[in-house]
């Protein structure tokens, strides 16, 4: 069945499973932190169960098998509540499972074949469960777990089940996979030891089941040990639930539901809510019809009279439908279209013929249109903004793993998780952050003993902070460790031949900047996580892709902080367009300090024939764009063209171009892979006249 409607089903599955996995990871790490794993057992059990149910439905056996044994483990913990357990073992096992799920689901997402089975892990978990059981009650009446692997459900003896319920579930319109969700509900209840009749009966039949659930809701009649409260609790946790109705019924009613539900299967045509009312002989059917009518009446009531209730219900609905999942590709497309719109708007309103006419009414309408287009653009940008919270939360896991493996106690403090950045950017910062945090723990923080000696609390603190500063987002990774060792870094860099000037000439900041050079690691021994000297330059490389930079600050014995400065968005920039011969270039306006005509007396040429220019007593090097990129132009005299002073970090330089054309909003497009990387050019953009200009990249030009 997975083959028929492949895409939407698998997408839903992948999406949901990822969410569950993330939730699970967070729960387990939080609970470990607060030393209260017991509290999370139920939640973990539930998530494992949902994962299992979904995976079984989709026939991803390797995932469901693993989820199954993990679920067993937690079922045991949940029901027997054994004392004196070493929870770190269990946490590790769960995290291992999480990793396995992640791998597998990623494979599914990428349509790769899933090769490996989790047999080893399953064995570990089964062993763990066995040992737990052994510890608790050496003589267990049944060797439950092993058999559970082959999945047989033990239904308690009948006479114990004495509560009967009718349950009707409505899913949200948008939730999709209703049948799978229903299946997992039934499956869950099975494990509670309930006896169930449900309608529609055949949940695996795609069309029938799905439609019926969509139109009529999912109906259950159950015979259960649990009381109404417990059931309510259970059902309320079901995701995407819109309406829930639980009624206690008598045994007769229960039986009649069983019959009528089965009957529906044979009369498949009756899919409408209104069932035939006429000639009903059997009491079973009558009961069911009465029920339906009652329900209909209820709905009618809600619709007409009970305005109060209705308002509440509606409100709830509005709240629930606030979010929708959108394919990123669609957003990208929308973004591109808006970009085109911005450009074509300029094409129309800046049309020279039209300008000559100077008609006030057109100018007025044009201004109005521009305003709207700007708003559209802003809104589209906003849609693409995603809070950093998810990425930050993921770091908890890294901190946890690292602190276990390095035997250092670490607290991760997260600040500003709500800060939003473009979706494309988020994808590029997770890895750098991971590196930085590993580095901070492995290199930055001292061991607890060392910390004690210097009078710091034994527990180290790593702070991960995000903040908005104008056009940039700053992400700061800070530790309160030993700080960077200037001498060590500079000696190492000297040995590797990375120094470009005498050691004395290096400022502290420059020295710290050296840690981003490839091949430099001051850690003597290479550990599993860091010390190879590849991490930090990888961080910078990844950041470069999104136009970000990294700055290090450090104070001896106080700690180190690395600040990542990342542009808020990549898509549209305000740029100054200038030309060199027939070629047009754009510089982001924020990097331009000033532009001016050079005077002969200010131009200095040093002994190496490098040109420099004096501006208010300061000397800046001149970069001739036409020479740099081998372009043809008639303007080669520095006095004829124009100087554009640009600033990047602490460096300033003057670009020499023919002339400035004006300030434009340009839509950034990256080059096709076919174009080889050009130092100093980060991409290109459309101009209003359909032409293309190249976007200069200040750091690339200056270096």
């Amino acid at each position: 069945m997975a083959n028929q409607e492949k895409d939407p089903m698998i997408d839903m599955y992948v999406h949901e499973t990822f969410q569950l996995i993330e939730q699970l990871e967070k729960i387990i790490i939080d609970s470990e932190k607060s030393k209260n794993v017991e509290a999370a057992i139920n939640e973990i059990f539930r998530i494992m169960h949902t994962i299992k149910g979904n995976s079984m439905m989709m026939k991803y056996d390797n995932i469901s098998e693993l989820a199954h044994v993990t679920e067993d483990l937690f079922d045991y913990l949940r029901t027997k509540q054994p004392q004196n357990i070493n929870y770190s073992n269990i946490t590790n096992v769960v995290l291992d499972s999480v990793d396995f799920f992640k791998d597998e689901v990623t494979k599914i997402q990428n349509e790769q074949p899933s090769s490996n089975k989790a047999d080893d892990l399953i064995e570990v978990i089964v062993d763990l469960l066995e040992s737990l059981k052994f510890m608790e009650t050496p003589v267990l009446e049944e060797e439950k777990s092993v058999e559970n692997q082959t999945k047989d459900i033990k239904v308690p003896p009948r006479e114990m089940l004495d509560n009967f319920f009718y349950v009707k579930i409505d899913f949200e319109d948008e939730c999709q996979m209703e049948n799978i969700r229903s299946y997992s509900i039934v499956h869950n209840l099975d494990e509670f030891g309930c006896e169930i009749y449900h309608f529609p009966k055949d949940l695996e039949d795609m069309d029938e089941g799905l439609d019926t659930i969509k139109t009529q809701g999912f109906q259950l009649a159950l015979n259960s040990l649990q009381n109404k409260k417990e059931l309510e609790c259970y059902f309320e946790r079901v995701s995407f639930l819109e309406g829930l109705e639980i009624k206690e019924i008598t045994q007769q009613e229960y039986e009649s539901f069983g019959v009528s539900f089965n009957k529906h299967i044979s009369e498949k045509d009756i899919t409408d809510e209104k069932m035939p009312v006429g000639n009903l002989e059997s009491p079973e059917e009558k009961a069911s019809i009465e029920k339906t009518e009652e329900r209909l009446n209820n709905e009618k009531d809600e619709n007409t009279i009970e305005d109060n209730k209705k308002a509440v219900v509606e409100q709830a609905q509005v709240k629930q439908q606030k979010y929708i999942n959108v394919n990123v590709e669609k957003l990208d497309m929308l973004m591109n279209l808006v970009g085109e719109l911005v450009v074509s708007e300029a094409m129309v309103t800046q049309n020279p013929e039209l300008k000559k006419l100077s008609i006030p009414s057109i100018e007025k309408s044009a201004a109005q249109m521009r305003k709207i287009i700007n708003e559209v653009q802003d809104t589209v940008m906003e849609i693409r903004m995603v809070p950093l919270a998810m990425t930050f939360q993921r770091m908890n896991r890294i901190v946890r793993d690292m602190s276990v493996k390095t035997n250092k106690e670490v607290d991760l403090v997260l600040i500003g998780q709500e800060t939003e950045v473009d979706k494309n950017i988020i994808e590029h910062i997770a890895d750098p952050l991971m590196h930085l945090i590993r580095n901070a723990i492995d290199h930055g923080l001292e061991t607890p003993e060392e910390r004690k000696k210097v009078g710091k609390p034994e527990k180290g603190i790593v702070t991960l902070e995000a903040k908005n500063t104008g056009g940039d987002v700053w992400i700061v990774v800070k530790d309160d460790g030993r700080g960077l060792d200037r001498d060590k870094i500079i000696n190492k860099a000297d040995k590797q031949g990375l120094l470009k000037k005498p050691i004395e000439d290096y400022s502290d900041k420059e020295v710290y900047g050296l840690i981003f050079e490839a091949g430099l690691s001051t850690k003597e021994a290479v550990t599993n996580f860091s010390g190879r000297g590849v991490g930090m330059d990888a961080v910078v490389k990844e950041l470069e892709k999104i136009g970000g930079i990294a700055v290090v600050e450090s104070e001896k014995e106080k700690g180190t902080s690395v600040t990542l400065r990342i542009p808020l968005t990549l898509a549209i920039i305000n740029g100054m367009v200038m030309n060199v011969g027939d070629n047009k270039f754009t510089l982001p306006i924020t990097t331009i300090r000033e532009s001016f005509k050079a005077k002969k007396k200010d131009i200095v040429i040093d002994t190496d024939k490098n040109e420099m220019i004096l501006v208010r007593g300061e000397c800046y090097s001149v970069i001739r764009i036409h020479e740099r990129y081998g372009l043809k132009t008639d303007i080669v005299d520095l006095e004829e063209g124009i100087m554009v002073m640009l600033e990047n970090e602490d460096h300033k330089a003057c670009l020499f171009v023919d002339q400035l054309i004006g300030e434009y909003q340009v839509v950034v497009k990256s080059f096709s892979k076919y174009i080889q990387k050009i130092q100093g050019i980060s991409g290109c953009a459309h101009l209003g006249d359909g032409g293309i200009c190249l976007i200069l990249d200040p750091p690339g030009i200056i270096t």
Binding site: L631, H686, G691
Partner: protein, 162 residues
């Protein structure tokens, strides 16, 4: 590809076999100077006239720059230069063939686009060793159709940067 069991001249004899539906591939043929080339049609997105090309610095000589094709920015390369042939001025028959290989779009600048030809496998001879002007590595075979010789190009190889 079959061995050279078929001599160039007898290609016409295969007309009667058309009905048998021999494995035939559609090729777009174009010329550069006197020579005719063919590329498989399924790689081709569209054919456009010559456009304004924006120069991109620091590229191999045959990469002429980028064009703006309805909002999409597409690099263009001159097949002539790639094959080390003398440069000529573009005229109104100069065309850009936009090809798509693994979602990378590249425009090929050629002198003239000729036609779409069905070329049967039996008409294709494997790569010979003559003609040092065109580097053999780009060639997937030589086809003889209606007494014309068409050099079939391998798109993947053609798009590889040196």
């Amino acid at each position: 590809m079959k061995e050279k069991e078929i001599t160039p001249i007898n290609s016409y004899d295969h007309n009667q076999q058309d009905a048998i539906d021999e494995e035939a591939q559609k090729n777009l043929t174009f010329t550069i100077g006197e020579e005719a080339y063919g590329i498989q049609i399924h790689n081709i997105t569209q054919i456009i006239g010559i456009q304004n090309i924006t120069f991109i610095p620091n590229q191999p000589s045959y990469v002429k720059g980028v064009i703006n094709l309805r909002g999409q920015i597409i690099p263009v390369m001159e097949v002539r230069t790639k094959f080390d042939k003398p440069v000529i001025e573009y005229d109104d028959r100069t065309c850009i063939i936009v090809v798509n290989k693994d979602d990378i779009y590249v425009g090929l600048i050629v002198d003239r686009v000729s036609e779409v030809l069905n070329i049967k496998e039996s008409e294709i001879a494997s790569t010979p060793t003559f003609n040092d002007k065109v580097k053999i590595q780009y060639i997937s075979g030589i086809a003889h159709v209606n007494e014309n010789v068409i050099i079939l190009l391998e798109i993947d190889k053609l798009l590889e940067n040196e």
